[in-house]
Amino acid sequence: MARPRLLPAVVRSLLGRPSTVQYPYVKTEVEAAYRGRHYADLKKCTGCSLCAIECPADAIAMTQIPAHLEAPKSNPRRVYPKIDYGRCVFCYRCVTVCPFDAYVTTNFYGMAGPRENTSEQLSLGTLERVV
């Protein structure tokens, strides 16, 4: 009975480069459309809170925009969605339900860490300071 030859594959694996990606040192290749870190562009956001209501993981908290930043007139309550990436399941429900398409999506995935990780810096970075 002809046996399938596993040995050549084994030797190839021994001599070749390891298939394991050394993750923190080497980045894993992901698709451009991979569901990664996303945040609200506050120039478009009106603070309607729909994303916070619809979030299945309850990861979005509507937070006040600090006084030193200029919020658009369409956002009279001066609130913005702060995403807690530790809670987020990256289903992108907030992205698809947003009536103003305010969410910016990226394929960034390296978010593991000991510190609190939220979209605060990214979202507030889209606004300009009050002169």
Binding site: S13, Y34, R35, P56, F90, R93, T96, V97
Partner: protein, 406 residues
């Protein structure tokens, strides 16, 4: 003078599970052994009860789509598909053909990687780690195809009421087809390995034989039943989504042993690869498959729906009831793993301890290895938990304490 010696058998109760790195699901199998032979197995479940059905009642219909995807990581698209189809029945919505085709592609990709995973785990259980690594490496190609299609390797979150959540471009369809073709080649190779390799055949053939009549009597589902000659497949009997046009061939084998169950999985993975390729080659172009989630109906009329789907592990059914409020009144989930594991305790009897993980893995929750033994002294009824490392030190250490390992 002593002329008669009465030997009292010591019954060893070996708990398999509930926690082990190789386990998919925490299940405890209490195996009672007489020497090496398993005489009785009790199946204890409930270690991973998360109250998802109740959670669904407390969240809206749309939030539940994402909660239900987390019932099981391996088969999340089939879970969401069957739930979303139940919602569509209640709403009276019908997705377009392209959406149905894309759903089938996602579900069949999932079937391929699920079957590859359990076959790899089986190779690991029988001690063939090289094969395990090799299969898992090729499985990454399917995960990549799934990432191209849905946007994530595992958690697809792909199904939505009225369609799917992202469209597939022609270039990406070509890339997926290329990956699946590569995988199909490897699947054929692995099927041959499982047919001809001595390690695999020696450990699997004739182990855990399940007769056709028992499979039907104990309501076993999916590849377990099909490995025993029961022709059961919800894809063929229900023809949901695009399965009316993409008819799968039902793989049935008559042997009924662990090997037949694994071979059914390889054949099914090959059939799935064919379905994916044919679905990609004739993707209909009848409009966008992606519904605008902002315009989907917010209110659900009172009503109920009962839908089923052929998950990689067998028939998965959902019952969803709406009483006209924002949240579902009831979501009942019946998973194939539960029926297959709880009703199959009779399958282990008469086989050895070494066969226990093999039979269990062939049912596809893949719980392997024992961690410690509970020694029951039949004279006093005393039960002691002994680490396995201590047990392996030999018989001598036990003689002084009045225990005999027979």
């Amino acid at each position: 003078m002593v002329d008669k010696v009465v030997e009292l058998p010591v019954t060893i109760e070996i708990p398999v599970g509930p926690q082990h790195p190789a386990l998919h699901e925490p299940v405890l199998l209490k195996a009672y052994v007489d020497g090496e032979t398993v005489v009785k197995v009790e199946v204890n479940t409930g270690y991973n009860h998360r109250g998802i059905e109740k959670l669904c009642e407390q969240n809206t219909f749309y939030k539940d789509i994402f909660i239900i995807g987390r019932v099981c990581g391996i088969c999340n698209t089939v879970h969401t598909d069957v739930y979303v189809r139940a919602l569509e029945q209640i709403l009276g919505l019908e997705p377009n053909r392209r959406a149905k085709y894309l759903r089938v592609v996602a579900m069949e990709l999932e079937r391929i990687h699920s079957h590859m995973l359990i076959n790899a785990v089986m190779a690991e259980v029988v001690g063939f780690d090289t094969l395990f690594m090799s299969i898992m490496l090729d499985r990454e190609k399917v995960m990549k195809a799934k990432e191209i299609l849905t946007g994530a390797r595992v958690m697809a979150d792909y199904m939505m009421v009225g369609g799917v959540r992202r469209d597939l471009s022609d270039a990406d369809a070509g890339r997926i087809a290329k990956l699946v073709e590569q995988v199909r080649e490897r699947l054929t190779y692995y099927k041959r390995v499982f047919e001809e390799d001595t390690t695999i055949t020696k450990r699997l053939i004739g182990v855990g034989v399940l007769k056709r009549v028992d499979a039907v009597r104990h309501t076993l589902l999916g590849p377990v039943a099909r490995g025993s000659g029961v022709r059961i497949d919800a894809r063929v009997s229900d023809r949901y989504d695009a399965y009316d046009e993409l008819q799968p061939e039902v793989v049935v084998r008559g042997e009924g042993d662990s090997w037949a169950r694994m071979m059914v999985r390889w054949d099914e993975a090959l059939v799935s690869a064919e379905i994916v390729l044919s679905a990609l080659s004739k993707l209909p172009r009848d409009g966008s498959p992606v519904p605008d989630e902002r315009k989907l109906p917010r209110k659900f009329p009172p009503g109920e729906a009962y839908t089923r789907v052929e998950a990689p592990r067998g028939e998965l059914t959902y019952y969803v009831m709406s009483d006209g409020k924002a949240n579902p009144y009831r979501v009942k989930i019946r998973t194939p793993s539960f029926t297959n594991i709880v009703n199959s305790a009779f399958l282990y009897e008469g086989y050895t301890i070494a066969d226990l993980p093999v039979i269990l893995a062939s049912l596809d929750p893949c719980i392997s290895c024992m961690e410690r033994a509970v020694i029951t002294d039949l004279r006093t009824g005393e039960r002691r938990t002994v680490p396995f490392t201590q047990l392996s030190r030999g018989d001598k250490a036990w003689r002084g304490r009045g225990f005999y390992l027979l």
